[in-house]
């Protein structure tokens, strides 16, 4: 590690020397070193379960390393109990919100240190202070808004500003882009560069490798709880980076739809969507044929998620209809959609996909409970049997079908959701962000399943923010502001598709 530090340079912002951490018999981190230099954005990448979160918890003082030491600016880290001291050195903006939703932005910023006299809070002063703080970092958010009403993007900026107000100039961003659309990510990066210029250092965690190249100067790769490499991004190709993460040769392999035979013109229509309108989309029509993969792209505000959720019955359309194999579906009825042969992977596995406290067996059989036995009997043995097969078929890494899904990694959780959607042997598969927040290898496994399903003659609808997911599609429809604005046949170039998503002209 030390060879990265030019001799005589200013001390590192943070350096971890050979830190290790065990949780019971589990080695979460083994002899890992990390040095982040002042003013850089340092990427920390690795597959789910590689030890990123553990390392972050050690350098943010949430837990104490079993072995090794941590230093801030060359001085040993304060004891774990001194939260104030930690807070002035490092802050972490988590993927999930740490604001209190019903309190205003102003109060969230100064929670438990509200300005005023000894006893009473001066609300006026609190607001002014918050305004000044946000202004000084260029965050345009109304301080009187309840924090829960902020967009993900604004919430992150508020959390960054709060961290900076404690005096920390080193900020850990834990997958900040996971829930942002492309424009918001771009704005985040602009802000990061501005802050960097103002002397703030970032440790940036992301599953999106291109973001590492966009915004970071150095990258550290962890794999299986160990440190693999640290290098300037300019000296590391994408393929090398993926290799380092997976420990294998070759990058992400996705079966590109362009490389397979074109779907026969006469293949049977499976799903017909007729001038469907609903929450944030208007008058959308399309046909999805058997053996076809249809992709939907667009920003978060494009209405693509709502469209897909309407197709599988989670939302009620305001007009139009969805038919499967020629029969119109009962609007807004998930069960009816399932009985008609639609399986779905919902948008967000924590929110809609899984019951985290229940086992793999319970989750994997949740939508087929009525067909495990006569009269609705769903015995543990039957559930376990289905789940054991799913664990094997979808390569879910788990102790067994009785393990609660909350203890699985993101990629394996997503495999459980996919297993459930396919458990009913549907003819149509609707996938929304099927690979969000999963590591490269799981992504590959998930997409391979989708490709297999397509080859079996099922119709697949993929709505995704990730171009890799859409690569499988025979065609991709682009949505903007609730309408379909473009159609791309397989073999599209990234640039063209992104230009359509963003609504910018690439060629003129």
């Amino acid at each position: 590690m030390s060879e990265l530090l030019p001799t005589g340079a200013t001390a590192s912002v943070v350096s971890a020397h050979g830190v290790g951490r065990r949780y019971g018999p589990t080695v979460a981190l083994d002899d890992v070193s990390l040095t982040v230099r002042p003013g850089e954005s340092h990427a920390l990448v690795g597959r789910n379960g590689a030890g990123k979160s553990t390392l972050v918890s050690l350098i943010t003082g949430l837990s104490k390393p079993d072995t090794g030491t941590i230093e801030f600016g060359g001085e040993p880290a304060p004891p774990i109990s001194q939260r104030e001291a930690w807070r002035s050195r490092v802050a972490c903006v988590y993927q999930y919100s740490t604001v209190i939703p019903h309190l205003t932005v102003a109060e969230n910023l100064f929670l438990n240190r509200q300005s005023g006299g000894k006893f009473a809070i001066s609300w006026k002063k609190l607001r002014t202070q918050s305004r000044e703080l946000l202004d000084s970092w260029g965050v345009e958010v109304d301080v009187d808004t309840p924090a829960g009403e902020l967009s993900v993007e604004d919430r992150q900026f508020v959390e960054i500003a709060r961290a900076l107000s404690y005096g920390a100039r080193f900020i850990v961003l834990d997958e900040p882009t996971a829930q942002l659309d492309r424009q918001a990510i771009e704005r985040l990066f602009v802000r990061m560069r501005d802050l960097q210029a103002a002397g703030v250092t970032f440790l940036f965690i992301s599953h999106h490798l291109h973001e590492v190249y966009d915004v970071c100067q150095a990258v550290t790769v962890l794999r299986d709880a160990r440190h693999v490499l640290t290098a300037p991004v300019t000296e590391l190709s994408r393929a090398e980076l993926v290799d380092a993460m997976t420990g294998e040769q070759g990058g992400l392999i996705v079966a590109d739809a362009a490389s397979r035979e074109k779907l026969a013109e006469d293949s049977v229509a499976s799903v017909t969507v007729d001038s469907l309108s609903g929450d944030s989309f208007e008058n959308v029509s399309f046909q999805l044929r058997r053996g076809e993969v249809l992709g939907f792209a667009g920003s978060n505000a494009s209405g693509k998620h709502q469209l897909a959720e309407t197709v599988y019955g989670l939302r009620k359309p305001s007009a139009g209809r969805v038919s499967v194999a020629g029969k119109a579906l009962e609007p807004g009825d998930v069960l009816a959609a399932m009985r008609a042969g639609i399986g779905c992977v919902p948008r967000d596995r924590h929110h809609q996909g899984l019951v985290l406290g229940l086992s793999i067996a319970d989750n994997a059989t949740m939508s087929i409970l009525d067909r495990l036995g006569p009269g609705g009997i769903a015995s543990p043995a039957a559930r376990t049997k289905v789940a054991t097969k799913a664990v094997a078929d979808y390569d879910i890494v788990a102790a067994g079908p009785d393990e609660p899904v909350s203890s699985l990694s993101g990629g394996n959780q997503q495999k459980v959701v996919l297993a459930r959607s396919l458990a009913s042997d549907p003819n149509v598969l609707v996938l929304i962000n099927p690979t969000a927040g999963v590591d490269v290898k799981s992504k590959q496994a998930l997409l391979a399943v989708v490709d297999r399903v397509r080859a079996e003659g099922k119709a697949v609808l993929i709505v995704s923010d990730e171009l890799d997911d859409l690569r499988l599609s025979d065609r991709v429809l682009v949505m903007r502001a609730g309408e379909v604005v473009a159609e791309h046949q397989a073999g599209w170039s990234d640039g063209d598709l992104v230009a359509d998503i963003e609504g910018v002209e690439l060629h003129d």
Binding site: V27, G49, A225, G357, P380
Partner: protein
């Protein structure tokens, strides 16, 4: 990472089974202490009377547990315990004994009891699931309304002269156990089986664990949640009938204050107030634990004016013990 990840869940699974049984040692210890403290406690007759006295509570706890597992709760069950058997009885008994004067056949009265429980459940379900009102305040209001209706209908009097079939459940025995105990036992067995072996039972856990995910998985979340309120109402009505038979009369305060004991038994038994967690076996142990405590308090002749504080204190201690015995938070 594979081999590393595997280790801890196995451990979790093993302790999972232990947790199921965590309350049993506590129950055994309590029974042994009871035997030491009081000579008559361990007598066959007394142990049966513990069961007989717990039967009504058991049925109400069963209903409440089902509601809790789906992530809602119902405070009105204690008033259903009073009003359902009272209305049923008043349809049957003569006006002279404070009945309505309709003097309908007894079986109509018995059916009416269950119908009243179901109707209360339907109203609760409509307000909470359909109108999306807050379960706490809706069922609290319902508790007060029903109690008021009962006091109003009976003028606060106690109903005597109940037909024999109203009290039979608690007085008639089979293999020396009261029928009410068999009834509660069978109800628990069925509920336990459904929760583990039937899709509806699994749906309850899914709904309580994550409503949105259950909905997206095609589970009829609203329909099942409403059904659970109705089932709980019927079970509370049945519990009321058992309690009536046990007491031998029906006063306007029947069931009043019971909801505290019901929640205590459920929570001690490991039913999560957050939903999605808990088993019938656990709930039953919670009921028995409380039954034993109540029995011991009666036997040890704690002065009547002090009994409430002792009882409340013991429940607090029981909650603390079950928190550490199971290692689970009771949130």
């Amino acid at each position: 990472m594979t081999d590393v990840l595997v280790a801890s869940p196995i451990r979790a699974k093993r302790t999972g089974w232990l947790r199921e049984l965590a309350l049993l040692p506590a129950l055994v210890v309590l029974i042994l202490i009871g035997g030491l403290v009081n000579d008559s406690f361990l007598s066959f007759d007394n142990l049966i009377s513990v069961l007989g006295a717990s039967a009504a509570l058991a049925l109400v706890v069963l209903g409440e547990s089902l509601v809790l597992i789906t992530g809602k709760f119902d405070l009105s069950l204690e008033s259903t315990v009073g009003i359902a058997p009272a209305l049923g009885a008043m349809l049957v008994i003569p006006a002279l004994s404070a009945g309505f004067g309709t003097e309908l056949p007894t079986f109509v009265g018995l059916v009416a009891i269950l119908v009243v429980g179901a109707v209360v459940g339907v109203v609760n379900a409509f307000l909470i699931i359909k109108l999306q009102l807050n379960a706490f305040i809706v069922t609290l209001a319902m508790q007060i309304v029903l109690r008021g209706l009962l006091v109003g209908a009976t003028n606060g009097k106690t109903l005597f002269d109940l037909p024999e079939s109203f009290t039979n459940l608690s007085t008639a025995t089979f293999l020396s156990l009261p029928m009410s105990v068999w009834l509660a036992g069978i109800a628990f067995a069925i509920a336990g089986w459904v929760l583990r072996y039937h899709r509806v039972g699994r749906a309850l856990y899914a709904i309580g664990g994550n409503r949105e995910a259950a909905r997206a998985a095609g589970i009829r979340v609203d329909r099942i949640s409403m059904m659970v309120f109705v089932v709980a109402g019927v079970l509370a009505a049945l519990g009321g009938l058992v309690l009536t038979g046990y007491v031998g009369a029906l006063n306007a305060g029947q069931g009043s204050g019971m909801v505290f004991t019901v929640f205590a038994a459920a929570v001690i038994g490991g039913i999560s107030l957050d939903g999605g967690r808990g088993t019938m076996f656990g709930a039953l142990t919670g009921v028995l634990l409380i039954g034993v405590v109540q029995n011991l308090l009666t036997l040890s002749q704690v002065p009547a004016f002090w009994i409430q504080s002792v009882y409340g204190g013991i429940i607090l201690v029981a909650l603390i013990i079950s928190r550490f015995a199971s290692g689970k938070s009771q949130l």
